[in-house]
């Protein structure tokens, strides 16, 4: 499955009724897709609530703590108890220590949660690949939110990231991110060897976020892989 991961960030459309509407509509859309899996990466504040509306919700951050006296922190195990499918960690806007990444990924695996970890560079993607998350999104921070898509501005980050990760652990899916504005950028990312995208502002800052999700999903669904794939 190709991955369309929508990072809701903390945009106003990520909360309240607008978030509810996005999750409901994505749930319906999702059942019509055969090749694309839409993941909603939700804020801490409503990831649990949105998980009641759509199956493939991840939360935007967790902390490397267990259950206990940790006011305002989020244990990995709590994510499972709240019925949330997975966690995203180490996003460019919320970096964590490698040490904590190691603990969180280990704990998430024991809990049966999926992990999407973010990396700034192919080097960081390699570093994270050793820890065995399910997915790694490579996003050059200087392009995030700019509207200049990584697939055009720095295609070598996608190809380099894919190569770096697959060398260490071929089962990890590599997503491309940063500056993705149009469905065509998502397709281009697939052509460059990624297995999906991580997108935020192009969708969440739109007046109709669901409509944008639909456009991206549709383009990614229709994309036909070239007959021969590059092998690593």
């Amino acid at each position: 499955m190709r991955i369309l991961a929508v990072n809701m960030k903390a945009y106003d459309s990520a909360f309240g009724k607008r978030a509810t509407e996005i999750a409901r509509k994505v749930s319906d859309l999702s059942s019509t897709l055969g090749r694309v899996r839409i993941i909603i990466v939700a804020p801490l504040l409503n990831a649990s609530r949105l998980s009641g509306l759509y199956e493939h919700v991840f939360v935007q951050h967790v902390d490397s703590v267990g259950f206990g006296a940790f006011t305002g922190y989020t244990p990995v195990s709590a994510v499972r108890l709240e019925g949330i499918r997975g966690v995203m960690v180490n996003h460019s806007e919320h970096k964590i220590l490698y040490r904590d990444l190691q603990k969180i990924i280990g704990e998430a695996k024991r809990e049966g949660l999926e992990v999407l970890a973010c990396a700034d560079t192919p080097q960081e993607a390699s570093a994270i690949a050793y820890l065995g998350p399910d997915m790694i999104a490579v996003e050059p921070p200087e392009l995030i939110g700019t509207g200049i898509p990584v697939s055009k501005a720095k295609p070598e980050v996608i190809t380099g990231g894919v190569k770096a990760v697959k060398l260490i652990e071929p089962s990890i899916k590599v997503l491309a991110g940063a500056g993705i504005s149009e469905p065509g950028d998502a397709v281009k990312s697939l052509e460059l060897g990624s297995e999906g995208i991580l997108v935020a502002s192009a969708i969440m800052k739109s007046p109709d976020p669901f409509k944008e999700i639909q456009r991206f999903a549709s383009a990614m669904e229709e994309f036909e892989e070239p007959p021969t794939l590059t092998s690593y």
Copy 2:
């Protein structure tokens, strides 16, 4: 109204079905009380969900950010959009800068949210009183989670905290916290001049958290204030 604020922290009983059960039962209990308001201080991960079950839910922490590209952070305004009643900030286990406290309290007021701010000492309580939150809980960190109640071990922290806060802003309610283990400790805190308590482990680590809440609520409901109150 006397305040019984239950900080769920990140105990395992704070998530999933056990949290649901606590919120539901507290909602029922709450309608039977005349003098006590129970506030559930919920984790970020389910504060929104629990707010659907009980009206007086606060979230354990917020960040001093607005809406925008802040992955994994929680804007004050988002709390309102998710229908949550209030925020607790600056807990001993999640201290924030005075600068951020100032921003958060200002923003929460504009959004119509209630604020419960925590202080380690009467001095910090004074410092926070200038910012005008609705409630200040004074908790000596060295007693938190010990089972040695502040009302016995350091009653001067309660009386001193109340005096310090009321001197600056009489409308702020002062709660006592740290080490409160028994309903009698809550009553003692009221006798010392506080207007309620902030309690966590004595309730959340119990095999039946709701039953403990009921015991505390009952003792606080029955407490009769002495005829003459100390004036500040």
Copy 3:
């Protein structure tokens, strides 16, 4: 004594030979002044070295740790062992928790070190006054480094800060800071009731930092207080 506190920050002129030259020349200048005390607020990296050249050196930050296994952190007690006169803490660019401020000020007093604590607002100045540092510098963060002097743009922050602090503890000296560009701004700050200034970029980004220090010191030395002072 009026205080001219020069925050070297991490400008290139704050390190190596240029820093040495500043400290040496200030030491000479200092002996010619009768009413002005120049404090050099030095980087962690050379505060000890510069203390060998000039008596009134403070370090820009310390940590709330004791001696021990704290790699890369700076105990308050170490400042004394290195022969440094005092510490500046809680600068707008390096905010610390109120809790840590409380510990650091207490520890510094026990060690016989002077403390200059910074505040963003008159409210924060009040909050800090309870902790009893020797000096409080009030600096609206939005003016720092702008060249728009607080004494012109927000004189009420100086007068309000002085009033707020003196109400709690009259022995604390109040300094004004942020955007101070010219010796005239320093004089204006004294006229508004402050007992000195905290200045950085106007001096350290100049091609000849010492010459600027000299100009400020001279203007502050010559300032004659009006015959009647406002009482608080």
Copy 4:
């Protein structure tokens, strides 16, 4: 050269006269050694001062900032201006983000400074090896300060760390650390394939730190490598 890196941490012996004495005596001792290079990893507060007494001083931490308005932070370039030979970063007690490690190592290379980076695990050592520091010290955090030497308790961390690093970049020297108490532990670490050790409490908490350095240096000087080396 075999590396004997002494992390002074923030022990009381790391400051003032005792630190001066250590640096002076190590400088003398150093000239008598042919196979061992002693590196003193000094606190931020006196790294510059001690660099005037001994050539091979590293500082315990730097920040990923450039020159500018960064009160209390330490730019990499400032380390060079103060005449300090190198930097240690990412110690277990002062972890930094991978992103910052990447910036700092790049900047240090441009400035001609040496870099010693620390790793908790062979996995983190691999992750850091991609960034090309001069040395990597592998230290299981659970053994630091325990007196249980890594060379006995977890020899596989040393052999695994060496193997992991050399696979990526053979020119990086790998040091062993954590719990090293006796000169024999240092020798054992060399036998396991490391090129030196990082040691702290065994030396700095001793009544005579220099004497301990001498004992370690002597044992490491005398160690004869076995005729055939393991190849990677």
